[in-house]
Every structure is written in structure tokens, then in C-alpha cells.
């Protein structure tokens, strides 16, 4: 396979030429700058507009004035958007590499279904009504399904197809349960229809502190996995021949993806499409090297998420559209455009 692979694929094992690396590093800085701008916009724009001066005042010289209170409110929302964005982007990239399937996202491995089923159980059978009360249920649900998928997928001898099948199967069973509960319990339906679209509006400092450690650990873990996952992309046999420890890589990737998606979903509800789309977009200009895909995805996903959140606040003023709806509605056409424009980089 190595012998007759086209030049672009060989570039992945050899270091990229210095100029290309410089361009990519510069692009990364540029993306970071865009992220800062979007984050500032997310603090400034909303039902009440703030000037940049007020934002600065609120961030660094908090005196408790009206503007400062608004900044505080939007700050937690922006922070949650950043965290969830990083988590979803990294998780998506890791899952696509792990399953070697470009369609892989948190939905495919059943993590969203696990979180949703746990939340509906919490509402119906445990009488939990507050959003912060859902967090642990959602996280536990996603983690339990992640573990189950890993075990059913064959644990130490897991293959991409088996993981995907196990995820699909568990999702189907759990969605059946979810629908059965929602049909019979109107109160649960009333809560779930808002939870399942995904929103940042419920952000509080306590939610953020609850999920922060998980997202931090998961992010570091996925970035460390970039090199081993590059080997997995070559196919099992080649990877083994190159000395990669496939089992360990798969177990750790699954762990990282579960922790990241679980935390993000617990805090904001299942936000569709970010984890699926961003790695695709990134791959179209970085090529297949995960050492570039992962950092880019970690920066561009929050750009998408925060940008969508700001837009959702602007278009439906004074009310707002949930971020999960906006990401899909603006992300969908962009994704289709990219798919059409070029031959999508295969995994």
C-alpha cells in the first residue's frame, strides 16, 4: 500500500515540506484570531447590544454596572460555547479516524441516544426538572453507551464496522424507548423537545465547572492520539506492521470521544452536525494528517458554534433560535457546497 500510494498520501508519513508547514501554522494562528473575534462578538451582540468598550469594561474592570452584568451573563454562555465547540470538533475528528468512516459522529456511536435516554429517564422517573440536574444523567448515559458500544464492538479486538454497528443498534433501541416515553408522558415530551435541539442559553458557571475537567482531559488525550490514529488510518495490517498498538489506540480514542461528547451533550443537549462537519471542512485543506486536523478542528468548531449562537440571537430578536438549529441550517449548505466543490479528501 505504501509503495503505490499517491504523493499526497505519502506526505503523511514523511514530514511536510517547510513552506507548507509554515502556511498551515500561520492558518492556525489566523483561525485562532477569528475565534477571538467571534468570542468577543458573542459577548457584545444579543438582545441588548454592547459596545466593545463596554465589553472591555465588563471583562476587566467589573463594577457591577448594567453592562457588566450583561457581560457576565454572556461570558458564561460564550465560555460554554467554546468548551462545547472544542469538545465536539475533537470528538468528531477522533471518531472519524477511529471508525475510518467519514459519516461517524457522536450520533453514530449512540452517545447522543444514550444521553437523551438518560435525560428522559431523569425527567420521567426521577422527577428531575432543572437543566443542571440533567448534566450528570446525560453524561452517565453517554458514558454507559460508550462503554457498551466498546464492549459489544469487541473491546480489545474492535473493528470500525463493529463499533458503528453496535452504536447504530444501541441508538435504535434507545430511541424506541425515548419515543415510547415521550408518547406516553406529555410532560417529558414538553421538556425533551427543547432539550434535544441543543442550546447554550442555559449556561451557568456551575454547569461549566462540572464539564470543564472532562473536556480538558478529553482534549489533551485526543491531541496526544493524533500520531497513533494516523497509523490506524493506514489500515490494520499496515498499522500493525509499522508497530502501532491498535488496541490501545482504539480504546483511548473511544474513551476520549466518549468523555468529550458526553460532557458537551450533558451541558448543551445534543448539538448535531458540528462534530461531523468541521473535520470534513478541515480535511479539505489540511489533508489526512490528524496532527493538523485535530488542532484546526478544535479551533474552528467553536467558531462555528459561537457564530451560530450569535446569529440565532440576531435573527429572532428579541427571542432567539437555539444554537443546534442554527448550526445545522448554516452548516448544512456550507457542507453541501464543500462536498460539491471538490473531491472530499477520503479518510
Amino acid at each position: 500500500m505504501l509503495v503505490d500510494s499517491p504523493p499526497e498520501q505519502r506526505a503523511e508519513t514523511a514530514p511536510a515540506p517547510p513552506t507548507r508547514r509554515a502556511i498551515r501554522a500561520f492558518g492556525l494562528l489566523l483561525a485562532l484570531a477569528v475565534l477571538v473575534l467571534v468570542a468577543l462578538a458573542s459577548i457584545a451582540i444579543g438582545a441588548k447590544e454592547l459596545s466593545l468598550e463596554q465589553v472591555w469594561h465588563g471583562l476587566f474592570q467589573d463594577t457591577g454596572s448594567y453592562g457588566d452584568v450583561v457581560v457576565d451573563e454572556r461570558l458564561s454562555r460564550t465560555a460554554l460555547g467554546l468548551l462545547a465547540g472544542v469538545a465536539l470538533g475533537l470528538a468528531g475528528a477522533v471518531l472519524q479516524a477511529l471508525t475510518r468512516n467519514p459519516l461517524a459522529d457522536p450520533g453514530l456511536l449512540g452517545l447522543n441516544a444514550g444521553a437523551s435516554a438518560a435525560v428522559v429517564t431523569a425527567i420521567t422517573y426521577f422527577g428531575v426538572t432543572s437543566l443542571s440536574g440533567y448534566v450528570w444523567f446525560a453524561f452517565a448515559g453517554a458514558a454507559a453507551v460508550g462503554a457498551l458500544v466498546w464492549f459489544l464492538g469487541g473491546s480489545r479486538s474492535a473493528t470500525p464496522v463493529r463499533l458503528a454497528l453496535a452504536g447504530t443498534a444501541i441508538s435504535a433501541a434507545l430511541y424506541g424507548y425515548l419515543q415510547a416515553v415521550m408518547i406516553t408522558d406529555e410532560a417529558a415530551l414538553n421538556k425533551m423537545r427543547f432539550w434535544t435541539v441543543g442550546s447554550l442559553a442555559s449556561a451557568t458557571d456551575s454547569t461549566i465547572l462540572q464539564v470543564l475537567p472532562f473536556i480538558a482531559v478529553g482534549s489533551v488525550l485526543s491531541l496526544v492520539l493524533a500520531r497513533p490514529l494516523n497509523a490506524v488510518a493506514l489500515g490494520d495490517d499496515t498499522a500493525k506492521a509499522l508497530g502501532a498498538d491498535l488496541n490501545r489506540t482504539r480504546a483511548l480514542s473511544m474513551l476520549a470521544a466518549t468523555v468529550l461528547c458526553g460532557a458537551a451533550t450533558a451541558a448543551c443537549g445534543p448539538i448535531a452536525f458540528v462534530g461531523l462537519m468541521v473535520p470534513h471542512v478541515v480535511r479539505s485543506f489540511t489533508g489526512p494528517d490528524l496532527r493538523w486536523i485535530l488542532p484546526y478542528a478544535a479551533i474552528l468548531s467553536p467558531v462555528l458554534l459561537l457564530g451560530a449562537d450569535v446569529l440565532g440571537r440576531v435573527v429572532a430578536r428579541p427571542s432567539e433560535l437555539q444554537v443546534g438549529i442554527v448550526t445545522a441550517i448554516i452548516g448544512g449548505p456550507v457542507f453541501i457546497f464543500l462536498v460539491r466543490r471538490r473531491r472530499t479528501a477520503q479518510l
Binding site: 443498534a169 424506541g176 438549529i325
Partner: protein, 345 residues
């Protein structure tokens, strides 16, 4: 036993016959019909299988005749036809996109139909017929949009799946939005519809489905030869004389029509389109699209699931979509565990 026999006619015509596949088709068909008879007999007013058969043949008493012919037979027929359409549609999608995990749900057809239905339910509080029409229009429009958006000097299977995912995400978001703005009564109705249900279906739903199947099923089966070649890739099959783009366009249109009509009639019943072809392949042990066996498998699955739902939860307590989801999921899990033990996958 050799799995493939060649049947020759005196006129010099010869047909290859896959004995195992043919046997599977016959058995599945019998299973679907048997399940239908049992399902007709199930409900608040149970009727024995013998009486059902007698009534169907026209020899029942008046009460049974009304229950069977007016209430339960159309429902069962809708179930059979919807299952068959979904099974065949799913097999076509999987073969055309060459991805065993692709199904109308992944490609956004289910969501498109749902969006059409939700618009009718939430924005116009439409009647059952209007909801059906809305779903049909939504499904067909989504199918057309996906095909046109994926078109670029031909439709590549991979691009089709990706475009489908994009469209599906957009439409799902619209559905989520519609659910959040609706009042709770409409939302409940919408969720029941979105789960997929056979309750209250009558002859009005049977005829369009039957007509469509009567036209499309033979058309698809005749063109299936090319499909089998296309599994080797566009270039090879083109070189072997298959007009790839024409066959693909024709089969895609057929698959979209089948799925959209089935979804309009019963809602997006989950998992049948995804599992039926996989189960069929497992039984026939034959590569290739397995269209006919997928069709029979879909019909058998849906009717059995409806029967299971009625027996377990009581008449019309839970829609059939819940059962197909849970049963399909559990089955797939069981398969994973046993196959792993046997070391096959």
C-alpha cells in the same frame, strides 16, 4: 448442494436460479402472510386464524366481515406494503451508494417527509389526509433536492451520501424548530406521527401504495442486473456495458418514490429500511443487492412488529415504530454478540 442452478428452456433461453435465495423469498413471503393472518385476528375483538381465513374467502359472518374487511385488513395491507417498500427502498439505497449503513433515514428522506408532515400538523393543524400529502411532498422534494445537489457530471455514490447527510441535518433542525414552536397537543400528535404508526389506516392509504408498488417493483427488478454489476465500481460496470448513470437515476427515483410513499402512509418507521436488506443478505448468503428477499423481509418485519406491539402493549397503545426500533436494535446487538463469539465479524 450447489447454490446456483441453471434452468434451460427448450427455446434456448436459460436462467440462473439461486436456489437458496429463491427458497428464502418463498419462506419470507409465507412468514409475512402468516403474520398478517395472525395480526388480523389480534385486537380488542380476537378472531381465530381459521375464521380470519374463512372471512377473507368471503364466508364469514357479518360482524367478522366488517371487522376484518373494513378495519383490520387495510391496516395489515398498509403494513405489508409499507414494509415491502421500505425493504426494497433500503436495499436500493445501500446498493446504489455502496454503503451498508446508508438508508433513507441517513439520506434525509425520512426527515424530509417528517418536515412536510410537521408543517401540516404544526402550522396548519391539517387533517390526516393533508398530513399524508404534506409528507409525500416533503419526501419527494427532499429526494429531488439531494439528487440535484449531488449532481455533477453524474452522481457519485459517496457524494450522494454526504449531500444527503447535509440535507438531512438541515431538515432535522427545521423539524426541531417546528416542535419547539408548536403547542403541546400538536407536538404530541407530531411525535406519534414521527414514530411511525399503522393505527387508523384504511383503504385510502392502500390503493396509492399498491398502485405504486405494482409499477415500481417490476421496473426495479428488471433493472437489477445492472445494479449487481455496479457493485464492482462505475468504471468496470461501464466497461461491461451497463449504462451506469441511467440505471442509477432510475433506481434512485424508484427508491425515493417507494420510501416517500411508504413514509407518507405510515410515518418514518425506523430501522426497517436499514435492517431488512442486512437480514435478507444474511439469510440468502448471497452477495449482490438481494432486492426481492429484502422486499419480503421488510413486509414480514413490519407486520410482525405491529403484532408484537399489539400483543405486548395492548391495541394501539404504542405505535409500531417503537417496536421496530427496539426490536431491530436488540436484534442487531444479539447478532453482534453471537457473531463475535463465532468469530465471523
Amino acid at each position: 448442494m450447489k447454490s446456483t442452478r441453471v434452468v434451460r428452456s427448450p427455446g434456448g433461453l436459460s436462467v440462473r436460479l439461486d436456489v437458496r435465495a429463491a427458497l428464502v423469498v418463498v419462506l419470507l413471503l409465507l412468514a409475512a402472510l402468516a403474520a398478517s393472518v395472525v395480526l388480523i385476528g389480534t385486537g380488542d375483538f380476537p378472531i381465530s386464524a381459521g375464521d380470519v381465513l374463512k372471512t377473507l374467502a368471503g364466508n364469514g359472518n357479518a360482524g367478522q366481515e366488517f371487522i376484518v374487511n373494513e378495519l383490520r385488513l387495510p391496516r395489515v395491507l398498509v403494513g405489508l406494503l409499507v414494509g415491502a417498500s421500505l425493504g426494497l427502498g433500503g436495499a436500493l439505497f445501500q446498493a446504489v451508494t455502496r454503503n451498508p449503513l446508508s438508508s433513507p433515514d441517513v439520506l434525509g428522506l425520512g426527515q424530509g417527509a417528517t418536515a412536510g408532515a410537521l408543517v401540516m400538523i404544526v402550522l396548519f393543524s391539517g387533517s390526516a389526509t393533508e398530513v399524508t400529502v404534506g409528507a409525500l411532498v416533503g419526501g419527494l422534494a427532499t429526494g429531488l433536492a439531494i439528487y440535484l445537489l449531488a449532481w455533477k457530471q453524474g452522481v457519485h455514490g459517496y457524494r450522494l451520501v454526504l449531500v444527503g447527510i447535509g440535507v438531512s441535518a438541515i431538515v432535522t433542525a427545521v423539524n426541531g424548530y417546528l416542535l419547539t414552536v408548536s403547542d403541546i397537543v400538536d407536538a404530541t400528535r407530531a411525535v406519534v406521527w414521527m414514530t411511525g404508526s399503522l393505527s387508523g389506516r384504511d383503504w385510502e392509504q392502500v390503493w396509492p401504495l399498491l398502485g405504486l408498488c405494482a409499477v415500481l417493483v417490476p421496473l426495479v427488478l428488471v433493472n437489477a442486473r445492472g445494479l449487481r454489476m455496479m457493485e464492482m465500481g462505475d468504471d468496470v460496470s461501464g466497461a461491461l456495458g451497463v449504462r451506469v448513470e441511467r440505471v442509477r437515476a432510475l433506481l434512485m427515483v424508484a427508491a425515493v418514490l417507494l420510501t416517500a410513499t411508504a413514509t407518507a402512509a405510515a410515518g418514518p418507521v425506523s430501522f426497517v429500511a436499514l435492517t431488512a436488506p442486512q437480514l435478507a443478505r444474511r439469510l440468502t448468503r448471497s452477495p449482490g443487492p438481494n432486492l426481492l428477499s429484502s422486499l419480503c423481509m421488510g413486509a414480514a418485519l413490519l407486520v410482525t412488529a405491529d403484532w408484537a406491539s399489539q400483543r405486548t402493549f395492548g391495541a394501539d397503545q404504542l405505535p409500531v415504530g417503537v417496536v421496530t426500533g427496539v426490536l431491530g436494535g436488540v436484534y442487531l446487538l444479539w447478532l453482534l454478540v453471537t457473531e463475535r463469539r463465532a468469530g465471523r465479524i
